[in-house]
């Protein structure tokens, strides 16, 4: 009762007296969350970097299915949409919103940093925006770029041509690298802590920028009019080189065995924080499993796990993509999961963002193409060896050397005769090195170069004459909320409307 009386008195006195003053109504400042006014680059950066790395390893299961890495386990019924290659606007719609969401944070980081002279942050933001837009263009071709991130000016953002975006990305990566090179630590508050990849190491960032730069250039390898020389020159001018063996770019915010805090790869494909198996859907694909097992390649035991409950002595058991699996066939527990001991070591391991393995393969291809100087065969052998080392294969170097020494066409440098054969060999070995590590890259290389050349198509009865999709369709949300621009792109076919670099 006392409380009520008190409340009434308060109401009568406070409200009565205060109601007339203007300040009485000036109470709308948010007490619960920071606003754009109060946020700063160092508070955005760590989460954005983590989210980028997490997206790269957790979002591309379906591409792993398409390229023959992974496939559906016997525990699940068919997933008709991806397995028939007959994708709709709903398929992977979160790619669009997810990347723009991350890019929004980098964009704010860039603006905030530029306004305060934090050129290190600004440069990093530019480079990470390049990565994000590369992923968008590689999946959708034309997307909003120059008109993006401007709600008040462009509530219906127009689409830019994929090729135009790539042209600008090349400029941006260079600009970002230059900004980083000229930055001072003092001006960039908290960078050593907020940079959960390189702890503010400028040289490492420049190496990463160069590697991303090279990756962009290689995407354009099949574009007939493309001349890489001026861009290669810029990389050389920087002089920091590329990510080298043992220098993988990894993200480590402090992963822990806790709800929502585990390493993203582990958390999605290995185990939940509770200790339960995280995923019973994706299992080893017989195609890639065969490539390892028939060619004396132990790496399958590092990419995939032994079955928890093997049946008939099948310790490593996989399925075929798109097949109708009879009820009597082995289930998830009887087959090999996709988080083998070479990939998922602990729940708290750092998350790879760009591996040394991929960097070495990128360099090998560039050398073989004559874009970079060096011996292509050595670069190739180094890249393959790095894969064994990176996976933690027992006696990695020796095992790799033995593997490379085989006369099998899948690995033997000499067996590849023409320059095109050698490119195919490098890309095939890159394919074998990135199982689950970078499904996206394998999907991109398959579209760019058609490697693996003998990839079987889906066994789904409803596939018809479809082939592996060449892109995603714009999400339904774009047709609903940005209709005029989405429709201006015309009819899009996931079978034929190729990304500009896919010739």
């Amino acid at each position: 009762m006392k409380r009520i009386i008190y409340a009434f008195c308060t109401a009568a006195v406070l409200l009565g007296a205060g109601a007339c003053s203007k300040d009485f109504y000036d109470i709308n400042e948010n007490p619960n969350a920071p606003t754009e006014q109060s946020i700063s680059a160092d508070l955005i950066f760590p989460r954005a970097l983590h989210a980028t790395a997490a997206r790269m390893v957790t979002s591309y299961g379906d591409y792993g299915g398409w390229v023959g890495y992974w496939t559906r386990s016997g525990t699940y019924g068919p997933s008709t949409e991806p397995e028939s290659y007959n994708i709709t606007n709903g398929f992977k719609a979160e790619e669009w919103s997810g990347w723009y969401d991350i890019l929004t944070d980098y964009n704010t980081m860039e603006k905030k940093a530029a306004a305060t002279g934090q050129t290190f942050y600004e440069g990093i933001a530019k480079i990470m925006k390049v990565v994000g837009f590369m992923y968008l263009v590689d999946q959708y071709n034309n997307v909003p770029y120059s008109k993006a991130f401007d709600l008040s000016g462009n509530i219906l953002p127009a689409y830019d041509k994929g090729s135009d975006i790539y042209a600008d990305l090349l400029k941006q990566v260079d600009a970002g690298r230059t900004l980083i090179a000229g930055a001072t630590m003092d001006a960039n508050t908290n960078i050593a802590k907020a940079d959960i990849m390189f702890a503010g190491d400028q040289v490492k960032w420049r190496k990463l920028a160069n590697t991303i730069h090279l990756k962009l250039l290689l995407r354009l390898s099949q574009v007939s009019t493309f001349n890489p020389a001026p861009e290669i020159a810029k990389i050389k001018t920087d002089g920091s080189g590329f990510i080298a063996a043992g220098q993988s770019a990894n993200v480590q915010p402090g992963y822990a065995i806790d709800n929502g805090k585990q390493n993203p790869f582990w958390n999605s494909w290995k185990k939940l924080y509770t200790g339960s198996e995280a995923n019973q859907y994706w299992r080893a694909n017989n195609y890639v499993l065969g490539k390892f097992r028939t060619n004396n390649d132990i790496r399958y035991q590092y990419f995939f796990s032994a079955a928890a409950t093997p049946l008939n002595g099948n310790t490593y058991y996989g399925y075929n993509y798109g097949e109708v699996i009879p009820n009597t066939d082995p289930k998830a527990a009887n087959s090999s999961d996709v988080s083998g001991p070479g990939l998922a070591r602990t729940a708290t391991q750092a998350q790879w963002f760009l591996t040394s393995v991929e960097s070495l393969f990128l360099q090998a291809e560039a050398i073989q193409r004559g874009w970079l100087t060096g011996d292509a065969q050595t670069a190739y052998a180094n890249a393959v060896t790095e894969s064994f080392v990176w996976l933690g294969v027992t006696n990695a170097t020796a095992t790799a050397t033995a593997y490379l020494a085989q006369s099998l066409p899948i690995v033997n440098w000499g067996a590849a005769v023409t320059p095109a054969d050698k490119i195919n060999l490098i890309i095939m070995q890159k394919y074998l090195a990135l199982v689950g590590v970078n499904n996206f890259e394998a999907f991109t290389d398959y579209r760019r170069l058609g490697v693996p050349t003998d990839l079987p198509l889906s066994l789904a009865p409803s596939r018809g004459s479809n082939k592996v999709p060449v892109r995603l369709l714009y999400p339904q949300a774009e047709y609903n909320y940005n209709a005029v621009n989405a429709k201006a792109e015309g009819d899009i076919s996931a079978q034929t409307s190729k990304v500009f670099w896919n010739k």
């Binding site: 109401a11 709308n28 953002p157």
Partner: protein
Amino acid sequence: MRKAILAVLFLVSATVGAWAQKLVVTGKVTDSTGAAVAGASIREKGTKNGVSADIAGIFSLSVTPGATLQISASGFSTKEVKATEKLTVSLKTEVSNLSEVVVTALGIQRQKKDLGYAATKVSNAEMTRANAVNVANGLQGKVSGLNVASINNGVFEDVKINLRGIRSLTGNNNPMLVVDGMPISLGYLSSINPNDIQDVNVLKGTSAASIYGPDARNGVLVVTTKKGVADKPVITLSSSAQFQKVSFFPEFQTKFGSGGYNDYTPYENWSWGPAFDGSEVELGHQLPDGSVQKVPYSPTNAREEFFNTGTVLQNDISFAAKDFYLSVQDAVIRGIVPDDKNRRTGVRLNATKEYAKFKAKFNVNYIQQNYNVFDDAAMADYNAANNVGLNQGLMNLIFNTPAQVPITSYKDFINNPFAEFNGYFNDYGLNPYFAIDNWRRKGTTSDLIASIDLGYKVAPWMDVTFRSGLTQTNTIESRTSKGETPTSFGVSRGFSLIPGTVSERSYNSRRLSTELFASFNKTVGDFKLNAVLGTYVRDSKARDSRVGASNLVVPELFNVNNRTGELTGASTGANSRIGSVYGSASVNYKGWANLEFTGRGDRTSVLGIDNNTYFYPGVSGSVVLNEAIDFIDNMQNVSLLKIRAAWNKTGNADIDPYLLAGTYSQASGFPYGGLAGFTANNTSYDPNLKPEFINSIEVGMELGLFRNRVGVEVSYFNQKNDNQIIPISVSSATSFTNAFVNAASFTNKGVEMDLRLTPLFKFNKGMVDLKINAMYNDNEITKIYDGLDELAIGGYASASNYAIKGYPAYVIKATDYKRDDQGRVIVNANTGYPVVDPNTKIFGRTLPTWILGINPSVTWHGVTLSALAEYKGGHYAYNDIGNAMAWTGVSAATGNNNREKFVFPNSSIETSPGKFVPNTNVTITNVNDFYTGVFRSVYSNFITSAAAWRLREVVLSYDLPSKWLGHGKVVKGLSVALTGRNLLLFVPKTNQFSDPDFNFTTGNTAGISNSTINPPVRTMGGNITVRF
């Protein structure tokens, strides 16, 4: 000085009068059938001496011998009788609109005939006759223009209430709730004891907003609680028991059992196995001890038998004396879902004290609800985390179970090895009894509603009132998961661990308001002037704090300290204020013409300083033609002919605080120790948001015929809603997915009709009444935003509510089969399968265009039989349970044609681009694949007409004659009643799923039901009320 002397003289004369010889009259006031007329006023003619009858119609009054008594009551014609010691006065029902008094803004009582807008009064008796636990349910079907939809059947009786359709596309469409003059949140409607309520006045239009402020734009429910009237105290005891049984299950196929592609699988949740043959089959896996469950392969009714009989027990006691009312209510609701329970206990005290010109009133109501229910959402989270689809709600676990499975035998999931977590037959779903036990939501909500009213009569023509109100809600809730670790056998079946978790929530909100207003009444010649001038200030504060542990260590110790990992949690606060100045002035000429002007200015804290003040005016008028024009007055049989009209503008900014700037939050596991990481949230805000406005006109006619035995009331309303504050969806490329802007416009119009036949006819000592009300409601969206013609309101991506320019709000848009130019479904020439057209199509509106209530009643001696039927129609609903049941092959549709191959009806085949020929012979390759595939992706397959007829209430009540009770010496009245609610539900044949009113939210999205919603029930019971 002169006034003071007069007052003294009056006191003296009153005292002197008391010494004179007196006659004590005791008596009873009844209606023509002999039923008590509660609260009738008994007055000694020519004096101020008077009293009110109690609930039993009994009164006692000391008068001068030989005096004449005037007995009057609302709804009856006044009668004069000579005072004698014992009296029984029978009043004639007048049922006249002329004398009806309604409570309007600020609790001011107005003659209904003076009003320029529509208002309807629902008395306590009408509301509580079928023992509705919730006030809103008690109003269902009784007021034209009022749409009360029960959106689920559970122990909370969630309802969604709209008056005259909607005025906001994405915002608040809830009517305002005013209890004893104090505006409070609509949510309290489910807390208030219906038996405490004297009447509910429903102010339908936006007219009341000029006095009550922006919340009143959606109409107002003015609730007046009881106050004691008689000198002699009355104690009322009442007790009711009601029983609930599921009245409508989705239609099942009962020919086929578990398995796939015609093969029997003992551990499948699919019912795509072979046809039932009665043979003995194994069910589930062989357990590690070698035991195997065996059941007959034939359908059971176990899915229906899973549900309990729900019970609702209500006990009330109230004590009423002059200006004093005290009541206690206890309502215990046990749901049809095992273990669901809610208990509501409330106390109310209403007290008034008058002293000369001063009047003080204090009302306080404290309600506590203790609930313990299954936590659907937590189970859904667990399933989502484990990639188990189609297991959103409990109904999925029950309805999707193959028909041969004896679900009800799995109650004992601790000792029965076939019911136990690891041993349950289903590889893809949990034992529902286990799930119910594992995930619980328990809590206590305490509501305190209190108000103080101080009135002072400054002059005979001026009253000043100060009113201060407090509402406070405290919710303490814990959500728990006991957790389960699978054995190695369970792991081999693919079962994952269910963590033991606890999440505690403390929600506290309080709203304080103060109001000061003066009212003026003055008669000048033939003119009666009326004015109100007032000011209102409100401060609302809330804090919602949650803390949780996602991995408990010691089993079933639900404390956040008992955990590994970090504490989870959040705490958000909100504070907003609004202040207003308002006024109204009305002039009434000779009692038959009335004109009223209103205006209100608001200032709100939720808008920017430059936009936070806004003003809105209104005007309304009425003419009682039969009094104004002799010609009509002379017409026989016309007892009332009134026309009225109102125009007003209403402003509002009904948004949460802090919606003027975008925010950032930590996500993806951040903070990691000392490392923070923020990300921009997905909604953009406009710092220059402006208030939105509604322009509303209303015209109406009220007609009384044959001495008001026939009453007709018709209203037409048209509301233009502009500059709506809405969150529009935008391309993610803008940085956001939603933007709060001033954008959409739409019109909302309709007609309300009330027909009252009282009595329809009379017979020997009895009569039959009939009341019918109806509303036709339509609306059209005229604008969304530049370059944007549609706005998603809510639902599933493939079946959702939309607001689309040129269409009514809302329409349901869903996926359909791909069709040729003649509307035939295009099928593949080889496989016979149709495909999904990814372009969603409009399948109709989700809000009813027609609502009709029919309420006949028969009275004979003390017996009353009354019924209430309600129809809603013109709208459509999407039933997601149909989709889930197609996947598992349990729905009736999947049993069509005995699962033989068939040619898709009205289909065609594309022979060359754009050329189609009818398909006469290509059959669907595989029925199993068809229903689990494309049939399910075509969401229009689960859209049905939402039209329904309901028998809402049937009540048979009997008031025992007072002679049986010893003429009221101890027991003054006793009545018994048999009640039924929602006895019958008639829906179109295509609706094989559920009550079409059921919906997953009380928000604006309509007609979207899912598997967390229980099946509808019918309620039957009885009550007994005794008055002492």
